[in-house]
Amino acid sequence: MIETFRRLGRTPQGVLGLLLLLIVGLACLLGPMVAPFDPEMIDFMGRYAAPSTRHWLGGDQLGRDVLSRLLWGARTTVPLALLATLGGTIVGAVIGTASAFWGGRVDEAIMRTVDAVMAIPGLLLALLIVGTVGAGSLNAALAVAIAFVPSMARITRSVALSVRRLDYVGAALARGEGAGWIVLAEMLPNVVAPIVVETTIRVAFAVMLFATLSFLGLGAQPPAADWGLMAAEARRTLHQAPWTMIGPAGAIALTAIGFNLLGDGLRDALNPRDER
């Protein structure tokens, strides 16, 4: 663990990714404390205010300070994306590991069904789910999590197949341990490392999927300071105030690039390969 971290510190992507995510993390922790304005404070004189020393990133269509809204919004946008990714990954990992453990026809049946679900594009599946349970941040998180399950199951299974053949699984079987115990306590911890990379990169996708759901009116609802919703609102007033787009789009991009870089760094740190 510490060794992996040290190696991560030696990859340029890893360092840059950690640095970007540190900024995002600080915004989540301290955002509301350092925000110069109340994120919901409406100021009709300051509508579409251009960036200035008073409003660093300008004012939106209601004169609310964009920077303050970004700093407050970090608290909902980022943790929800993390939560959705983790939820989808855990469920997918359990399905994939169990499928590899049982093998044979059960494995075949589970994997064919997973493939079938993957035929529904992720965004479409998320739309169907949110359309059913209703619009809202938490429902969108649920939809993103479910949309991630099949592909995570597939990835985990390919890793778990090689773990299945290892001696300790055979030993556990010989000791008469139950299938549930072997899958959850023996195999799952050993498939985590390889899927960490995929999970990290997925967080970036979750942030964007969220933003897209909010854009389509099915994610966060006004007046929430959600980044995706802010970008969607800025889009509508782009002709009056193009700068309102810069803040939320930049925040989304910063977070997504951060997780992508961290994922790439982790990949290099976990399987060091020569000169690539």
């Binding site: 064919r112 069904t113 493939d115 079938a116 679900v117 993957m118 035929a119 529904i120 594009p121 992720g122 965004l123 479409l124 739309l127 169907l128 789910i129 359309g131 059913t132 209703g134 970036a204 964007m208 999927l209 933003a211 897209t212 854009f215 389509l216 009116g217 099915l218 995706g228 970008a231 969607a232 889009r235 782009l238 002709h239 193009p242 787009m245 789009a249 989304i252 991009a253 997504a256 690039i257 992508n260 870089l261 690539r276």
Partner: protein, 315 residues
């Protein structure tokens, strides 16, 4: 490509469609506000609602309703739209055609631009093109389509005035104008794929360049151009075809957003309209058709692979 393999593969496509139909039907069944209320409005009398429910078969158990829906779909009857009262099938087929045009152009653009970009980046590792491609791939996967689409629209349509902002023109009406209307949506939807594929091509090419047979070809004294085209490209492309087919799923998702931004009356827009107006038959059919498109794309990719790579023996 044996007949047995093909039959098995077709069986899988059918199984996929069956699972998708169950999921789509199951999800749409729990949609709040039932179809009768959607049809008649909130103020309808109880008798009128009951009559409509009987007419639509909504008083039947879910399994029976599913069976009716599925047998309709198999015979090509996708149901009647609750919003317009017209059959869903023909409308969606027309919409699908427009979406497929955007998707095909996007895939073509990816193959024409991202593949050479990845190869050059791999051949000149650490060079300007490699760094540029790396940067592009991070930008491509860091902004949602509705943001990149909006930025492109502002730049190319509003400020420079090179392209029309939104709308759709059929190729048969005015080919030149149709292409001009296609540029922005295609560019937007292919950006993420270009980022993904160029990175994939780069890493595959690097792998192949390190292989023994490439070293052998070099030692044999083959000219570098022939090594790249005849040996490197051919081997590096095989996994890329698979990934490209898998990316069609992502492409179909992206098309939903792009059609919404650029006002293209395709299948993605039909999905959004169906969700907001609670038009169940439309939603079910559109989702099923999108999944079918994806399944067929993957089947075609597998068939293409077995032709391209004689080492693959499916049985």
């Amino acid at each position: 490509m044996s007949l047995r393999w093909l039959l098995r593969r077709l069986g899988l496509v059918l199984y996929t469609m069956l699972v998708v139909s169950v999921i789509v039907f199951g999800i749409t069944q729990v949609l709040p506000a039932d179809a009768a209320t959607t049809l008649l409005g909130e103020n309808a009398t109880a008798e009128a609602l009951a009559a409509v429910r009987t007419r639509l078969g909504l008083d039947q158990p879910a399994a029976v309703q599913y069976w009716h829906w599925l047998s309709g779909v198999v015979t090509g009857d996708f149901g009647t739209s609750m919003r317009t009262g017209q059959p869903v099938g023909p409308v969606l087929m027309l919409a699908l055609g427009r979406s497929l045009l955007v998707a095909a152009c996007a895939l073509l653009l990816v193959v024409v631009l991202a593949v050479p970009l990845g190869v050059v980046a791999a051949l000149r590792r650490g060079g300007a093109i490699d760094l540029g491609a790396g940067l592009l791939s991070y930008v491509g996967v860091s902004l949602p389509e509705f943001v990149t689409g909006t930025l492109l629209l502002m730049l190319l349509a509003d400020w420079l005035g090179w392209l029309p902002a939104t709308g759709y023109v059929a190729l048969t009406d005015d080919p030149a104008d149709a292409v001009r209307h296609l540029v922005l949506p295609v560019l937007t939807v292919s950006l993420v794929l270009m980022a993904h594929i160029s990175r994939m091509v780069r890493s595959e090419t690097v792998d192949v360049l390190h292989s023994d047979y490439i070293r052998a070809a070099r030692l044999k004294g083959l000219p570098p151009g022939r090594i790249v085209v005849g040996h490197v490209l051919r081997n590096a492309m095989l996994p890329v075809v698979t990934v490209l087919a898998l990316d069609v799923g992502y492409l179909l998702g992206g098309i939903i957003v792009v059609e919404e931004i650029f006002a293209i009356p395709g299948i993605g827009r039909a999905v959004i309209t169906a969700i907001t107006s609670r038009d169940l038959p439309m939603l079910q059919a559109a989702a099923l058709i999108m999944a079918a498109t994806y399944a067929v794309a993957n089947l075609l990719a597998d068939m293409a692979l077995s032709v391209l790579d004689p080492r693959i023996r499916y049985d």
